[in-house]
Symmetry: C2
Subunit: 417 residues, 2 copies
């Protein structure tokens, strides 16, 4: 493939001949319209049209995955394939929104398809020149949080809503005392009347700064600044002025241009929350795979990205979560280091499996109830999770390790279903 | 419902008792976690929790619409309901990204559901105080374009990619001469190497300004400025400086914060392109309905919004398109006037039906091939569409009206399938 082309991989499902349907997609997303128009010369078409680069047929299905498909007479099955389509960079320029409009735009509505999912994208190096990407990534985050050679262990402020700044600060102090590395706001609140961001930042950082002065350990707190752009700038500055070390953003509802603008102005890591992700991915034959999705956010400059957790409380399979962790850790355009964030129903029991499969401790491991509801209290909850990761790295069974690690034993008794 | 609550309507599908599943959704999106944690008092919970306001059972289905669902033993069907859930405004504050994180966030991943779609939202008036909404809307757009009492008739520059600024300007001049009201760039290109935005704006506006000086009619051209935020600002200013009257943005890939920031700085109407919409909506039991979606963009300040067209080349049904047109024209928070944009495979034949169903001419009607590939040329193509709308408003059958309107007759002969 020429380096000047964007390559997109799709899963397609169609009642039409596969090659024909794939060409419709390529046409729609480059030079196509419903009738030929004057000015569309062969030369222009050849230079700018998208090209089908490969087509690998998969098992067909008997029923269409999506409605609205145009079915030719006599069709008894829906063919499936994995295809690669390349787009000339000259069409779109080095431009994130136009890239997305090309690889993930109108095509989902084409009635030639009963299923269409964007699986992956590969981009020319030009994107790296324009988009600086994560400012802190894995190494920068570790340095700010003072955590080496093991996952950052974190938690989410719960209840999600309702706590005053003073109550949040009290909880943060308790968690700091328990040895936590990282705390995050919930995605449901950023600057609500009952906990204005400025007051929350000041109350929380007062406690965390004091803790840092005493112990040398600055707990990283991701304040949710998702908002209008000017408010995000202002709130970022408030966090920074209070010696905070992280801001959090709901990626899908702030959007690529907003996150990228924040990155351009920020001097703190951006913790990327992917809420709304189920809408984009839960259907197996519609939407976008995480492998493609996370590349867009790396370009926009996100430092941490949520990937769900193993044995989570949501609908995602463990296999998909592991794939997401690996995707985050894979270098992109020669860098763009991104810290995957595991969360949802975690308590330490989910340490061995991702470690065996990825051999990495470059991740953030968030537990809510797993820490707060530990029978020995939050400090014991944090200790149990550290112990679980020690066991995982050493290749020792959790139950064996728990014999000499009381906190882990209590976690196993309480949380293992 | 108290005015201080956000009301969201969902379609749910679940193998669990409906009430129980609905309560899980409400909990997850307000105070919930997987175990009870200290600090979560009954008082806090009552004040901040989301409430199930209504539940209307629908016909069940035999198979789950989505994978990843937790199925209780012995379940033979998947229950469906339309539910209303209210959220305290105090939880999220008046904040567009936090609103979306609440009504359309993690909930799509809940394994209690085999289907979940956000159908509509109702918001407290506080949102109108914070978000000024469309700056031009229907009346402002009509005034700029000089079109009263009929739809604005427009087209898309085709081929989508490949034309130089000079070629685009030539085409714009030809279309202006043909009597067009509106022209838009394609969503696939904004500022690409072969047609830098600045050069395109200057070339096109030179032609359109000259045409306006001669005829008094300023054709509205929506330049696609989708890009990084600073680039969008700069490009907006270039359009304005050249006496252009519209900018276009790919909404889903720029995002809510970016569009809202542009609105705050813009002095031109924002033409909202919804490419990528299929990903959010094509599955009947996943994602978001247009009724809810368009309200978010009205808050962000979009003036025109694409709704597809009747008998379109995509997968959407005519019934859904008509619902979308109506949704745009329905006042929201007492105003927020939004111009619906019909496009895709339009040539005039799709005038009578939407008119009969909506009795409105407050829309933009875009035809690509329907204008450019008309046997009599683009001027005849524009005339044919105007004639089709005259017939629709008068309640005359198109074929009857075509007897005395040659251009319409030629369109019917060529385009009616």
């Amino acid at each position: 493939m020429a380096t000047e082309r964007v390559l997109a991989t799709y899963l397609i499902e169609t009642p039409h001949p596969l090659q024909e349907a794939a060409e419709v997609l390529a046409g729609e997303q480059s030079s196509g319209t419903f009738v030929s128009v004057p000015g569309e010369t062969d030369e222009l078409r050849e230079r700018f049209r998208a090209r089908l680069e490969s087509l690998q047929e998969l098992e067909p299905v008997a029923e269409p995955s999506l409605p609205g498909v145009k079915v030719p007479e006599g069709v008894a099955e829906y063919r499936r394939a994995r295809i690669e389509v390349s787009f000339s960079l000259e069409n779109m320029g080095v431009n994130l929104p136009t890239l997305v409009a090309t690889v993930a735009g109108n095509l989902f509505e084409l009635r030639e398809f009963s299923g269409l999912k964007l699986l992956d994208i590969e981009l020319p190096q030009d994107f790296a020149t324009r988009y600086p990407g994560p400012q802190f990534g894995i190494a920068g985050t570790r340095q700010l949080a003072g955590v080496e050679a093991r996952p950052l262990i974190g938690t989410i402020v719960k209840p999600s809503v309702g706590l005053s700044p003073a109550q949040t600060a009290e909880l943060a102090g308790e968690l700091a005392g328990a040895g936590i590395d990282f705390i995050k706001d919930d995605e449901l609140m950023a600057d609500p009347p009952h906990s204005p961001l400025k007051e929350r930042v000041e109350a929380v950082m007062k406690v965390l700064n004091k803790h840092a002065d005493k112990t040398g350990k600055k707990v990283m707190y991701a304040f949710n600044i998702s908002d209008s752009l000017q408010a995000m700038y202002r709130h970022h500055d408030i966090v920074q002025a209070a010696s905070g070390t992280c801001v959090m953003v709901s990626l899908n509802s702030v959007g690529l241009a907003g996150v990228e603008a924040l990155r351009g102005r920020a001097s703190l890591p951006i913790h990327g929350h992917r809420n709304g992700w189920g809408m984009l991915n839960r259907h197996p034959a519609l939407g976008i795979e995480f492998t493609a999705y996370q590349k867009l956010w790396r370009l926009a400059g996100v430092d941490h990205l949520h990937v769900n957790g193993l044995q989570n409380k949501f609908s995602e399979s463990d296999e998909s979560v592991v794939r997401s962790i690996k995707a985050c850790l894979e270098p992109f355009l020669g860098g763009y280091h991104l810290l995957p964030v595991l969360s949802s129903g975690q308590w330490g029991g989910q340490a061995p499996e991702p470690y065996q499969l990825t051999k990495t401790v470059d991740l953030m491991y968030l537990a809510g109830g797993g820490i707060m509801a530990h029978p020995g209290g939050p400090a014991a909850g944090c200790a149990a999770i550290r112990q679980a990761w020690e066991a995982a790295v050493k290749g020792v069974e959790l139950v064996d390790y728990a014999r000499e690690h009381e906190e882990l034993r209590l976690s196993i008794d309480k949380f293992r279903g």
